[in-house]
Amino acid sequence: MNIHEYQAKALFEKYGVPVPRGAAARSQAEFATALAQLPEGPTMVKSQIHAGGRGKGTFTNGFKGGVKFCQDKVAALAMAGNMLGQTLVTAQTGPAGRRVQTVYFTVASDIKKEYYLAILLDRASSRPVIVASTEGGVEIEKVAHETPEKITKVRVDPAYGLADFQVRDLIAALGLTGAEAKNAAKLIRNLYTCFWETDAAMVEVNPLITTPAGEVLALDAKVSFDDNALFRHPEITALRDLNEEDPKEIEASKYALSYIALDGNIACLVNGAGLAMSTMDIIKHFGGTPANFLDVGGGASKDQVIAAFKIILGDPNVKGILVNIFGGIMDCNVIAQGIVEAVREVGLKLPLVVRLEGNNVEAGKATLAASGLTLVSGDTMADAAQKIVRLVA
């Protein structure tokens, strides 16, 4: 689960990670109250959406820049009006963009130098890894590719926690001394505690900055959490912003379906995550484009299949449907009954190819055949994928 920058910074403050003073506003009426909490002087205005590249983004009304520097609070108030309620398109949002529902005002800090700091899981060692770089405010992927020697990684032993010598190593790699070193050490420790205690999947500070006054601040904050651990963090679950999620994905999660919308025109309905991914792949392999990832899970029920059909058909781009079920344990006939009922209920007009295999498959195929529905049966995944690609072309 992702949260907004202003929420992440509130969390940072709770853990003693210093951030520039800021205040969020959700309506024009709240702008003045929010700004009143900040001192006079240069102010940043930041669109709050769950996507990166905001500064370089463009609003659909033509206004450029989702993050703006303003000389004073009066200018900031006017600037916020350009952003709130508008749709921001960035390199990460896709062409549809995201509607800005919250604007965040912060004090514009004096920047001495920018750094990069993140904590995430290192899969190879099964340990948290702290990643730091002297190159901040730029894309870390680019740094990793072009100047990997400027990136330092420290893996933390979960049995001991972050050790003093590791913090010293990080400080040395960033080239910090004196008051900056002391402040950065405290920030790194507190950020690690925040990562660990909240079951974060990743915390990223880009840039981390030093100021002429010797302060070290998290100028930006990107935090995501392990969905599997949300059950023990009700205060974090409460930060979920449904406006940032695809309504079809929210609907799917109500039926324990795992759905992700893509931009193709062949919808798929599959059991199992690996099989669902490779069903998308095989559609592409035979020249089609998948409209979604949809895993109905290991024990799909009739209701789930019906819900899945409705969600798939909510996507106007869909021109055909491929159902691929390997029912090792689940009863293929139950799935077949679900398909028949769903097709009748939604009055399906689009081509439908069904590949059923596994437990009680003969009964399942008989149910489909006896239904009188116009659907095409596929013998193997390859056969089914080729058929739906042909029907949609």
Binding site: L121, R123, A124, S126, R127, P128, A144, H145, D157, P158, A159, W196, D199, A201, D226, D227, N228, A229, F231, R232, S258, I260, L262, V270, N271, G272, A273, G274, L275, A276, M277, S278, T279, M280, D281, I282, I283, K284, H285, P290, F293, D295, G298, F326, G328, I329, E357, G358, N359, T380, M381, A382, D383, A385
Partner: protein, 307 residues
């Protein structure tokens, strides 16, 4: 021969009285697997009954192992308690703990994996379908089925299968069986980013197993486990290996059902992994329908018989 488990392996089920655990215990008993004990804290002394089977239930893993000689545990405990269940199996010094549970917090698994260092127990999973060593009875009955795989699609034979995905394993096994190729052991290592046994661990076991003549390795986007295994295959494995990587069409940064299947760096995309497979002499299945055929091609090229 097989790897990790044989038809005589005695297993216990942690979470035997839960709906999920009970259902798959019944299927394993039907398959002929030696399920000798169940563990549910607070229900010690009761029995799990199914069609003439009467499996004793114990309060702890240590007690169950001591009383019955079970050496392997299948874990069906709900996610908040599953990390603790794995540690209990480790503390009892079992040979193997197979964690079926999906949805264990990553932080719990980081701690569990650290706590397992230096212990004798091997972990398979979590979030995995488990293992099957097929038996010689009808529908491969009489084999050892640990977890949630459909036993009946297997046949005893000489192909080893290792995979992160449950239904893709079923797909591969079904193709093999349809072509008359049986399996030595099928191992589902699970889709989580922090797990126990890796692709490489299983490939090493298959390579050392004289009864396994060919290997199918099924992977996904995310992480570098398949790449690590592929590089080892190039240096050390003389058996034919076929590979498939799911997720060529997955958009970067999105979680595709499995928590581990998020594309991060440049070497964990499907295209990068497939290219490395090829460099390492692994026959790549172009589509998931091609997995058994890919292995047959690789075996034919080396003059090795798989059946």
């Amino acid at each position: 021969m097989a790897i990790l488990i044989t038809p005589t392996t005695k297993i216990l089920i942690q979470g035997i009285t839960g709906e999920f655990g009970a259902r798959h215990t019944r299927l394993s008993l039907d398959y002929g697997t030696q399920v000798v004990a169940g563990v549910t804290p607070g229900k010690g002394g009761q029995h799990f009954e199914h069609q003439g089977h009467r499996v004793p239930i114990f309060n702890s893993v240590a007690e169950a192992a001591r009383a019955t000689g079970a050496t392997v545990s299948a874990i069906f405990v709900p996610p908040p308690f599953a990390g603790d269940a794995i540690l209990e199996a480790v503390d009892a010094d079992l040979d193997l703990a197979v964690a079926i549970t999906e949805g264990i917090p990553i932080r719990d698994m980081i701690r569990v994996k650290r706590a397992m260092q230096g212990r004798r127990t091997r972990l398979v999973g979590p979030n995995c379908p488990g293992l099957v060593t097929p038996g010689t009875g009808p529908g491969s009955k009489g084999g050892c089925r640990i977890g949630i795989a459909p036993g009946y699609i297997h046949r005893p034979g000489r192909v080893g299968v290792v995979s992160r995905s449950g239904t893709l394993t079923d797909e591969a096994v079904f193709q093999l069986t349809s072509k008359g190729l049986g399996q030595s052991t099928c191992v589902g290592i699970g889709g989580d980013p922090v797990n126990g046994t890796s692709h490489l661990d299983v490939i090493k076991l298959f390579n050392a197993d004289p009864e396994t003549h060919g290997i199918i390795m099924i992977g996904e986007i995310g992480g570098s486990a398949e790449v690590e295994a592929a590089r080892w295959v190039r240096e050390h494995c003389r058996k034919p290996v076929a590979g498939f990587i799911a997720g060529a069409t997955a958009p970067a940064g999105r979680r595709m059902g499995h928590a581990g299947a998020v594309i991060g760096g440049h070497e964990d995309t499907a295209a990068a992994k497939i290219a490395i497979f090829r460099e390492c002499g692994i026959e790549v299945a172009a589509t998931p329908s091609d997995m058994a055929d890919a292995l047959l091609r690789s075996a034919a090229a080396r003059g090795i018989k798989l059946s």
